[in-house]
């Protein structure tokens, strides 16, 4: 009986290990990356999963690099950098956040937001997703708005819903399209009452021309 139990446990352990090995080798990377690059990325993925970080963005980044025929070293470096950003985002946001929130937070950190910005955003939007707010922050910076200014505006809107965030971002983009500088567009929308504060910066302002 004991022998059967031990044998059974051995089978279960073998199955578990086999499953673990199968999980560690991301099938979507097969044929897309060189064996050497894939081995390194798989190691990073395994580490991320162990740490409770979302692995999907890492796979996406590796596949993006492969799609763009980037050298192995660049792909591995991009994935490694992203896992660090995901970790920083998760640490800033705290427990109980979704993979999408962590991934969007990593994008915001990449754009130049500070971990404290994410922490404040999470605190001010308790019980509500911060995914779209983080995404809008990332997008505003990509539009040319300094990260600290964009972060302040997004934080000032923390009480609003996702639709308001997207409308705000759309209006800023529209103003830029019609001739305003990104900062001026953002400030005019802030002054226009789309955020709850009159001056969202309170930090270093725009730069010299």
């Amino acid at each position: 009986m004991l022998r059967r139990v031990i044998c059974g446990s051995g089978v279960l352990l073998a199955l578990a290990l086999a499953g673990g090995v199968a999980q560690a080798q991301e099938p979507r990377l097969v044929g897309r990356l060189s064996d050497a690059a894939r081995a390194q990325v798989d190691t990073i993925l395994e580490s991320a999963r162990r740490d409770g970080l979302p692995s999907e963005p890492l796979v996406d980044r590796a596949l993006e690099g492969a799609s763009k025929r980037a050298p192995d070293a660049l792909i591995v470096a991009a994935v490694r950098r992203l896992v660090e950003e995901l970790g920083a985002a998760r640490d800033a946001l705290g427990s109980g956040v979704s993979d999408a929130e962590i991934a969007a937070g990593a994008s915001a950190l990449r754009a130049g937001a500070r971990p404290d910005d994410l922490a404040q955003l999470r605190a001010r939007r308790a019980g509500r997703s911060v995914t779209v707010a983080e995404a809008v922050l990332t997008d505003l910076v990509a539009l040319g708005i300094p990260p600290d200014t964009a972060a302040a505006a997004v934080l000032a809107m923390a009480e609003t819903d996702d639709a308001a965030y997207l409308a705000f971002r759309r209006n800023v983009e529209r103003d830029v399209a019609l001739g305003a500088t990104p900062v001026a567009a953002l400030m005019s929308r802030v002054a226009g009452g789309e955020t709850a504060v009159a001056d969202p910066t309170g930090r270093p302002g725009p730069r010299k021309p």
Partner: protein, 385 residues
């Protein structure tokens, strides 16, 4: 570029024609300005600026053309290079009525930024009465800067008055800018410009009011310049002013103060530049997109599925590679009106993507925010709620 517009306008040309002792003679004028001042563009900190501005102008009885360049070096070490040209033609008078066709355009590049430019064609009808006149007209053109391409138009009414040593023009204008996404911004400007000369002294200025604007930038604007001729070919000048966002030229609001000298290289009468146009900022965008990039839109469909639509008129194939396709090219389905569509179930978040048309290069579509990726190319960001 208000200076070019103001000086090249038929109203001013008429005013000079009537105000001069006789019919305006053909005249070539070449000048070079050098100045030092301070500028504060909306959205930027104030900065000292050094400018050099050559200008060329040719006036005939019914025709005038002007061109100028400008190089502005800012305190930061960044610089602005721009050029502008304008031309106006007046028909012979018929019973006190004259027609005018004019056009102006310009191009500007700012350090590490997208090139911006504009052009406007204008038609006007003038009713002249000796030392004064009124006019009405319309114009249309385009302004672009990096990703953005804006169709512009204007409707305007005006009048002018000439007295010895003094000219005054007034304008009421409604301008409209519409971008490729059909987003529209209209505004109304009421302004008066005047020029007064006595001996070696010349005063020139603009006073204006923008009482209504969909850009939310209503307010006063204006400038004043004082010029003193030191010799026949050298004049000293100082000036200061404030101007508002100008969608017709893609320029942002700002204010300036400057002092400098003007060298008259050829002839000595007309001027084609003012400090405000020398110091006016170009629109700066972080990553320009091709003007013909397809336009992406995200729409909700049934059961949480998102419809990704790309408008690419005349395309034979449109593909997308993105986080949600495992970065494998996926061909979109052709629909009516040059639109291509793909329906997907997408969770909220930020997605990275590129598209290509007819097997060409992978690019960022309009409607996605361009960002540098880690692989030396641009990737587009889209937000899904």
């Amino acid at each position: 570029m208000d200076g070019v517009r103001r000086r090249i306008s038929a109203a001013a040309l008429l005013a000079w024609s009537v105000g001069a002792a006789g019919p305006l003679q053909a005249q070539l004028t070449a000048t070079a300005d050098a100045g030092f001042g301070a500028v504060e563009y909306e959205g930027f900190l104030g900065s000292a600026a050094l400018s050099i501005t050559p200008g060329l102008r040719y006036d005939a009885r019914s025709f005038s053309v002007a061109a100028q360049g400008a190089w502005v070096l800012y305190e930061s070490g960044r610089d602005l290079l721009q050029g502008a040209a304008a031309a106006a033609w007046l028909t012979p008078p018929v019973g006190g009525v004259r027609g005018e066709v004019s056009g102006f355009g310009g191009i500007a590049t700012y350090t590490e930024a997208a090139t911006s430019g504009y052009g406007l064609l204008r038609g006007r009808l003038h009713l002249t009465g000796g030392t004064s006149g009124v006019w009405a007209g319309a114009g249309m053109g385009r302004a672009y800067a990096g990703t953005f391409d804006i169709a512009t138009s204007e409707l305007a009414l005006g009048g002018w008055l000439v007295r010895p040593g003094f000219t005054l023009t007034t304008t009421l204008m409604r301008g409209v800018g519409v971008d490729t996404g059909s987003t529209r911004a209209a505004y109304v400007d009421l302004m008066a410009s005047g020029r007064w000369t006595r001996g070696a002294l010349e005063l020139e200025g603009v006073a204006g009011l923008r009482p209504w604007s969909e850009l939310g930038d209503e307010g006063l604007f204006g400038d004043l310049q004082v010029r003193v001729a030191l010799t026949r070919r050298v004049a000293a000048q100082v000036g200061a002013g404030r101007y508002l966002t100008d969608p017709l030229r893609g320029s942002v609001a700002g204010r300036w103060i400057s002092a400098g000298v003007r060298l008259s290289l050829w002839s000595g009468r007309s001027q084609v530049s003012t400090p405000d146009e020398r110091l006016r900022a170009a629109v700066r965008l972080p990553h320009p997109l091709p003007a013909d990039a397809p336009e992406l839109r995200l729409a909700d469909a049934a059961f949480g599925v998102r419809g990704i639509t790309l408008r690419a008129s005349g395309a034979r194939s449109v593909e997308i590679a993105a986080d949600f396709t495992d970065w494998q090219p996926v061909r979109l389905q052709s629909e009516r009106g040059g639109e291509w569509r793909l329906d997907l179930a997408l969770a909220p978040g930020v997605y990275r993507l590129n598209v290509r048309v007819d097997g060409g290069p992978w690019i960022v579509p309009r409607g996605a925010t361009p960002q540098e990726d880690e692989f030396g190319t641009l990737v587009g960001l889209v937000i899904v709620r």
